[in-house]
């Protein structure tokens, strides 16, 4: 699962001027023909850098996203829910492996990616810096955060980089189970006893603001370049993804008798667009820069796993082993 609001590298106006114009033209022609770029093809430095960053952030989000849900495995209500949640968390961690491999084909080894996550150099989806207080929070994540991620991932799976597309194809197939499972959980709470309904509503109230942040800042204030769209690195704008999410899921939330904590939320029938209160982008920035309720814990847990797993990696080291970049 992963949201928009990618933190792209700032781009210098001269970056493209330094590229070989003939190779650049061939590269762009290939994308225009609808052919995918494969790892050993020539590509502009900027394309490589932004893709590594995007795929890596996606991979980290899968790993960190497994933490708030993983919390609830042992306390999920009943055997079946425990099994399903365990399977889902296993999927998410598997997705991270697929994504790390895709980023590796661009030249950044997996160990380097893991280190950059732990040192705070790389980002992950901001929504996982919030805690899952109750079982209903876990249900909200499984249904709606995954739904948001799917909107994003389906858009990205039509991008131009072959290995990322292949990883996303596999990921999207598995996400359909997550989405159905999450919806099932929310339906059962929302149509259950008064206490269950209240618990579900409280979760919606807590998670709505982070959910609106999930797709990233509005296109009006977001600095992503037209060139990333042209190269099919970014396939849909933050606002487009947010609109699509609202269109697909607000009616489904309402039909369960749940309310959404934004009195300005409504579909403008004339424009077909959803209107809503402007999310608090200062809060978004504050949390993404480290000052959220769980930032410290998330990184500490990852780092602890890395440190305490050291002896296992040591035991498995093969002196003659040679790291080779994945092929596809």
């Amino acid at each position: 699962m992963y949201g928009g609001g990618n933190v792209f590298e700032s781009m210098k106006a001269t970056a493209l001027a330094e590229e070989d114009p003939i190779k650049l033209a061939e590269f762009e022609a290939r994308i225009d023909r609808g052919e995918k770029i494969e790892p050993s093809d020539w590509m502009p430095q900027l394309y490589r850098k932004q893709l590594i960053r995007m795929i890596e952030q996606h991979g980290h989000s899968e790993i960190i996203g497994a933490l708030p849900e993983g919390t609830w495995i042992t306390r999920a209500p009943g055997f079946k829910r425990k099994l399903a949640l365990m399977a889902k968390v296993q999927d998410e961690v598997g997705h991270a492996q697929l994504l790390y491999s895709a980023a590796e084909t661009l030249g950044k080894p997996r160990e380097q990616q893991l280190e950059d996550l732990i040192s705070g150099k790389s980002k992950y989806s901001n929504i996982f810096n919030y805690p899952a207080f109750t079982w209903a929070d876990s249900c909200f994540i499984s249904w709606l955060v995954d739904a948001g991620a799917i909107v994003n991932q389906i858009a990205n799976s039509k991008g131009s980089y072959g290995p990322y597309c292949r990883a996303l194809e596999r990921i999207c197939a598995e996400e359909s189970f997550h989405l159905k499972y999450g919806h099932h959980c929310v339906i059962h709470l929302a149509t259950g006893t008064k206490t269950q309904r209240e618990m579900m509503q409280a979760a919606v109230n807590r998670w709505w603001a982070p959910m609106m942040h999930f797709f990233g800042p509005s296109d009006k204030i977001s600095v992503h370049s037209e060139i990333l769209m042209r190269w099919k690195v970014k396939m849909a704008s933050n606002d487009e993804c947010r609109q699509q999410f609202l269109d697909m899921y607000v009616p489904k939330i309402w039909e369960l008798g749940l309310t959404i904590p934004d009195e300005n939320l409504m579909k403008n029938e004339a424009t077909g667009e959803w209107e809503f209160s402007e999310p608090d982008w200062e809060e978004f920035k504050r949390v993404i820069n480290g000052d959220g309720p769980c930032n410290k814990e998330r990184i500490a847990v990852r780092r602890m796993a890395e440190e305490r797993g050291r002896w296992v990696r040591q035991a498995l080291l093969a002196p003659k082993a040679k790291y080779v970049t994945p092929l596809a």
Binding site: R30, R33, E35, K36, E38, S40, D41, G70, T71, L83, A84, A87, Q90, G94, Q97, S101, R110, E111, E115, I118, S119, P131, F133, G162, R166, R170, E174, S176, F177, K180, Y181, H183, H184, I187, H188, T191, E255, L256, G257, K296, E297, A300, V301, R303, M304, E306, E307, R313, L316, L317, A318, P319, A321, K322, Y323, V324, T325, P326, L327, A328
Partner: protein
């Protein structure tokens, strides 16, 4: 100590000053990579599934099984091969067949057996196309060029020695069977339309 809502995190007893820089990792704190191929149905060609990192071939096979066969419908057989043992050809595009760039003639030598994988569309997976016999990797490319008639261009070829591939055993077919019972991993198992309908009816 770091306080968390998660009892498992509290049990880790993470000290508050845990932010001190981590000791540098050793160079080889990075496993080798293996390419995995799966067969989704009996008789269908093996297709590239993805990469796993592992300290040896057996563990690569186990990791690949976890990663690429979590759902019964996805896997019938599996094989892995160390990435560095695969020969990768150039990539072509725009309708150009990569085989046209291979010059020379196949030696006819049948001393070693090689598996050939083709990329038929950029962005898709490499597919196993067959086995050829030749004296070395380059010769295997030429053997493949001669052996397999192509009505569509091939954009990239992978070649691996048959002996370097670790393949699931037909006798061990049972290892895939348990998956069929895991319906809770399938979207199909989560139907709740009736519950919504009943809820709506109750609300009037």
């Amino acid at each position: 100590m770091l306080k968390s809502l998660d009892p498992r995190v509290n049990r880790l007893a993470i000290p508050d000053d845990f932010e001190a820089p981590m000791a540098a990792k050793e160079q080889l704190d990075q496993f080798e990579t293996y390419q995995s191929f799966t067969q989704t149905k009996e008789g269908k060609p093996f297709e590239h599934a993805g990469t796993v990192h592992a300290p040896n071939e057996e563990m690569a096979f186990l990791f690949a099984k976890e990663q690429f066969s979590r759902r019964g419908t996805f896997c019938y057989a599996l094989c892995v091969v160390k990435t560095e043992l695969i020969l990768v050809s150039e990539f072509t595009d725009n309708g150009q067949d990569v085989y046209d760039t291979f010059k020379g003639n196949y030696s006819g030598d049948t001393s070693q057996s090689f598996e050939v994988f083709h990329l038929l569309k950029r962005g898709k997976n490499h597919k196993h196309i067959g086995t050829v016999e030749a004296k070395n990797f380059e010769d295997a490319l030429l053997a493949s060029k001669e052996t397999y008639p192509r009505d569509k261009p091939v954009f990239n070829v992978w070649i691996a020695k048959s002996e370097d591939i670790l393949m699931s055993d037909e006798e061990d077919a049972d290892i895939w069977n348990t998956l069929k019972e895991k319906k809770y991993r399938d979207a199909m198992d989560y139907k709740a339309a009736d519950r919504i309908k009943a809820f709506k009816a109750e609300q009037g």
